[in-house]
């Protein structure tokens, strides 16, 4: 049957047969780099289009509908506009940091793609500390945000960056703890192992209460970590005009924008992997007829389907809720999410030790 794994294996074998190992590895790097950039660009285009459509549906509007059929080329037209736009650098800005910051944020967003398992056996780097790698690397993006805010020499930007720093650093705690709940049940940080452990049922189904709580906390925490409404304090439009990227224009602004969406994709992919079984198809007990039909759907569809469902949920949040205030945001984290996720982790450990899960 057609699968991404076969293609990847064939390309790999062909490269190693034709060239010497060093050259073959170099070619693989180039291919992976091109694919990653391609995915980056595609995700940006698709997710921005999706956000526009979802927001339009919730707001009784049509959304983009002029450029191309159903407006699908609208994002491309906007990107084109941003590319040809002049990139302004304000007077008094720290030039070096100002120019580096968007690239740093973008690079972080791309690096995090590495351990994700997009389909059965289709993964860039099956590192044994995959989940840890993602949480560790993604926290670097706060440095980029802080750099952008500081280097802009703008008070709005600085306030936005400071808010973002406080927010991301504190929400990483509960995001990490809720991830740990699944890690404890699986016993591995390797993403392929985590997916393999969900062969007979996704964690959200067989993990009982602790995993449900962990899932909810994870969704809330990653919404905050990616600076999305209702936690979009770093760019709170009505308070700080555009927060940390107030002074950015043209392609540098677009990089921030794209990185935000790729970050959303990454965290949702992680959520899908940990809680919803990654590329594992939906199986119901011993109902073999149903399971066979589900198996027929390619694994890549399963993975992207679950990820996009979570992305939709996060967009749903954005277009429904008002924004929190900065102190309430930290209240929520330190007074509610953190204690709950700590107790939850204990519960998960108990369940893992007693083997109460299926």
């Amino acid at each position: 049957m057609w699968s991404l794994q076969n293609i990847a294996d064939k390309v790999h074998d062909w490269l190693y047969l034709t060239f010497n190992p060093t050259l073959a590895m170099l070619f693989e790097f180039v291919i992976i780099g091109a694919l990653a950039i391609g995915l980056f660009a595609m995700l940006g285009l698709i997710l921005i289009y999706m956000e526009r459509k979802v927001s339009a549906w919730m707001q009784l509007r049509l959304g983009p509908n002029r450029v191309g059929p159903k407006g699908i080329f609208q994002t491309m037209a906007d990107t084109l506009k941003l590319i040809v736009k002049e990139g302004m650098t304000p007077d008094g800005a720290d030039k070096l940091l100002f120019h580096i910051a968007p690239f740093l944020v973008m690079i972080v967003a791309m690096v995090v793609l590495a351990p994700l398992m997009f389909a059965k056996g289709f993964q860039i780097w099956d590192i044994n500390i995959g989940v840890f790698f993602i949480t560790a690397v993604s926290s670097i993006s706060v440095i980029g945000v802080l750099m952008a805010g500081w280097a802009s020499n703008n008070k709005y930007s600085l306030l936005g960056a400071m808010r973002s720093g406080a927010q991301i650093v504190s929400y990483e705690l509960s995001a990490g703890l809720s991830i740990l709940a699944v890690i404890v049940l699986t016993g591995s940080l390797k993403l392929s192992d985590i997916i393999a452990s969900q062969e007979n049922g996704w964690w959200i189904f067989k993990g009982h209460l602790p995993v449900w709580i962990a899932f909810v906390i994870f969704i809330i925490a990653v919404t905050a970590e990616t600076n999305r409404a209702p936690f979009d304090l770093a760019e709170a439009e009505s308070e700080l005009t555009a927060g940390f990227h107030t002074e950015y224009s043209g392609m540098k602004f677009a990089l921030f924008f794209l990185a935000e969406y790729v970050n959303i994709f990454v965290v949702c992919a992680l959520g899908a992997t940990l809680f919803l079984g990654g590329w594992m198809p939906l199986h119901f007990g011993t109902n073999t007829q149903f399971n066979k039909v589900m198996d027929y759907i390619p694994s890549v569809v399963w993975f992207f389907g679950k990820t996009f469902f979570l992305i939709f949920v996060i967009m749903w949040f954005r277009w429904t809720f008002p924004r929190l205030r900065i102190d309430q945001l930290l209240h929520l984290e330190w007074k509610y999410l953190l204690p709950i996720s700590m107790i939850n982790l204990l519960l998960a450990t108990l369940i893992a030790i007693m083997n109460w899960h299926f």
Binding site: R61, P322, R325
Partner: protein
């Protein structure tokens, strides 16, 4: 009202909010002094949209000057025009026909509804929710269409003239108002579901921007913003004009004094306005829509004052006449100006995000403040 004067430290962060800022709803310029995220002082700077309407009115005749007031508080233009027309009628000693009175009150209340709907959407946008704005505009659009059909314009009507209204109501008017009422009654619950009951919104507004009853009176606040602090100041009840004394409606007073109280006042006021429209819409008396007035209006020598309750508070129109065809001096007492003056008092010690919510619940319209 004794407040210590904050002397700006060197370490304080001074930010210019506006004149181009998404949450100032126009060209208001606020110089805010911050200590981290906490607001120490807010200093409003006015004048960016000053068009000297009062001075302009001195060269316009008593028929002409009314249209300029639509440009003051553009969200309650009918009510502004109404106040001016009433002031001129006082000077002319003209009795407005009952039909015109009822049409005026109907239009005022519809304007108030439209204004509060826009305020609701804009407040939700200020606190970060974007969808409510479109829901509010769905209902506001219906009112605008009704206005467009009867008055000819959607925002700056100039429908009230001295002696009555400019034209009779459109034949479709009653049917469409009924349609609107039926629609809005179903949809007003959505407002509560989406924003009022929302825990994030409640946290953003409860206990924020407190102003006591005494302070509200001292600052000269009026309208829903003052009624949120428990001040009884509804001109429709205290000094009834037109047919308001014959109507059954409640003056909404909340004692909270915070943003949520001001929010609730406006939400409940919408329901009261709906009930007023309901009482009047089927009982429009027959008769003239305009009293007979002379072609050239001349007010007798003297001073005339009239006051109405706009969507934002008390609007006063003060005319000094020397007996000619144009006023000698006109002064508007606009509600926004005095409400804005309390902003500094309310925002002290609050966060930046609160300041936006407080400005939202004060329902500022900048052209009304600057004139």
């Amino acid at each position: 009202m004794t407040e210590e004067v904050v002397i700006t430290d060197q370490d304080d962060l001074i930010i210019n909010v506006g004149p181009q800022h998404p949450s100032t709803h126009g060209v208001l310029h606020l110089v805010i002094t911050l200590n981290g995220e906490t607001v120490k002082k807010v200093e409003p700077h006015l004048g960016y949209i000053h068009r000297s309407i009062e001075k302009m009115c001195e060269s316009l005749t008593y028929r002409q000057f009314i249209y300029t007031t639509s440009r003051m508080d553009y969200l309650s233009s009918h009510i502004n025009n109404h106040c001016c027309a009433m002031c001129v009628e006082k000077g002319l000693q003209v009795e407005v026909p009952p039909r015109a009175q009822v049409i005026r009150v109907l239009m005022d209340e519809l304007t108030r509804l439209a204004s509060h709907q826009l305020w609701w959407g804009a407040l939700a946008m200020d606190v970060g929710a974007l969808t409510p704005f479109f829901l509010a505009f769905r209902e506001r659009e219906m009112i605008n269409d009704i206005m467009e059909e009867t008055c000819g314009t959607r925002l700056t009507m100039n429908y009230m003239v001295p002696g009555g209204v400019m034209a009779d109501i459109h034949p479709n008017f009653q049917r469409r108002v009924h349609e609107f009422l039926a629609h809005f009654k179903r949809k007003i619950d959505e407002y509560d579901e989406l924003i009022t009951d929302n825990i994030i919104f409640q946290n953003r507004t409860k206990g924020i921007g407190f102003i006591s009853k005494e302070d509200a009176i001292s600052y000269g606040m009026s309208g829903p913003s003052a009624r949120g602090s428990g001040v009884q100041c509804d001109i429709r009840k205290l000094y009834p004009y037109e047919v308001y004394d014959k109507l059954q409606f409640k003056e909404i007073i909340e004692s909270g004094g915070d943003c949520f109280a001001r929010y609730m006042v406006r939400m409940k006021e919408m329901k009261q306005s709906m009930s007023i429209v309901e009482q009047l819409i089927d009982n429009i008396p027959e008769g003239d829509f305009q009293a007979k007035t002379k072609n050239v209006l001349k007010l007798p020598k003297g001073e005339f004052y009239s006051r109405v309750e706009t969507a934002r508070g008390e609007l006063g129109v003060y005319i000094i006449s020397e007996g000619g065809t144009t006023p000698y001096r006109i002064k508007f007492r606009s509600p926004g100006y005095s409400n804005l003056s309390a902003l500094d008092h309310m925002t002290r010690g609050q966060k930046i995000g609160d300041m936006v919510a407080i400005m939202g619940t004060l329902d500022l319209v900048i052209p009304d403040i600057d004139r």
